[in-house]
């Protein structure tokens, strides 16, 4: 069975989901990722879902869970590269992933992680007015 690779870049972990996510794979990723955050002492996790065309409620909840788990382990999670159609579907499903930071692409995601690590005061990486 395919496994989703977790790459280490500096103190960040990069997960690029290239295959269709099924529930079992999602649970394994969750498991794998939390282990790696601890062993690598990662400060940031970036999940690239630009190749995902379908995100159902289960995957949506998994993204939320991963963000919550990394927060407990003091790492910042950013979901990057979501497609417009996926974003609309998630919103219609009522899953707006309020606990997850988002960025348009890997570049902006890395910048966001850097900023969040440098300035832990910004609660969700969202700048207030």
């Amino acid at each position: 069975m395919a496994e989703i690779p977790v790459l280490k870049i500096g103190d960040c972990l990069l997960v690029s989901i290239q295959v269709d996510m099924h529930d079992r794979l999602a649970l394994e990723l969750q498991d794998d990722l939390t282990n790696r955050i601890v062993t690598e002492r990662a400060r940031g996790v970036m999940i690239d879902i630009s190749a995902l065309e379908i995100v159902d409620s289960f995957i949506g909840r998994m993204l939320n869970n991963i963000a919550a788990m990394s927060r407990v382990l003091d790492a910042v999670t950013v979901v990057v590269g979501m497609r417009p159609a996926v974003a609309i579907t998630l919103v219609e499903l009522g899953l707006s992933l309020t606990g997850v930071r988002t960025a348009l692409n890997v570049d902006k995601g890395l910048a966001l992680i850097r900023k969040a690590i440098d300035d832990p005061g910004s609660a969700l990486g969202r700048r207030e007015a």
């Binding site: 417009p84 974003a87 609309i88 707006s96 988002t102 348009l104 902006k108 995601g109």
Partner: protein, 291 residues
Amino acid sequence: MAEEHATMIPQLLAEHEQTLLRDWMESQKKSGALRGGQVSEAELADNSRRLLAGLRGGAATEQFEDITTPVWDQRRTVLEEISRSRATLGLTPAETATFVFSLKEPLFALLREKVGKDPDRLAHEIWVATSLLDKLGLYTVEAFQKTREDIIARQQQELLELSTPVVRLWEGVLALPLIGTLDSARTQIVMESLLEEIVTSGAEIAIIDITGVPTVDTLVAQHLIKTVAAARLMGADCIISGIRPQIAQTIVHLGLELGVVSKATMADAFALALRRLGKAVVDRAPTPQEL
């Protein structure tokens, strides 16, 4: 009833086309089909001739039962054209249908003249003629309605396109001036065009301006919140601007929580967007070239 094909209508139409046309024109003129000059006589004559010619051609195929079959295609096209041209003249669909129905009078008169001696035969011929003309008459009404519906659908589409532009204000800043009420269909289009633009421009901030939205109720607010949430999933922050005092009051009275930064004017929102991007606007004297 006599056999279906034992009708002399095709033959009559072919042999007496000119007489029929003349009688028909007479009776139409008498019944005021010219509408005091609104329809020119030449046009009425032309329409009548074309319809009669079509009818003759169609009747020759001896398929009276169903006018949706391919052999009637050409005749239906004639009817559609007549219906359309009469609609643009401001005639009601009833008047257009009456135009077709009025052919019954001369046709029945002709039938009576030919087979008046044989009541059974006459009744059968009249039945065939009347059912055919009724179908054609009703078809003009359908064609009229379809023309109307096409116009309405096109206007709706144009309205949608007109009212949902996405504007680039600055590198990384998009503006979405909303005009008109936000219903589900509009929200869908607004959301799609905003998200597409976020992808192509790589914008981080989107300003949604609701100056042109007449009222904000719970449903509109719900749609706004959805749009903001979808943009956030794409990594763009939203600022809502153009909130009029009345709308501010409504939002509070309804107990709505937009959950997003809002500003009174687009200018304020743009200033905030620039600050977030680390840009500053400074005062300086314009050079002579800039004046």
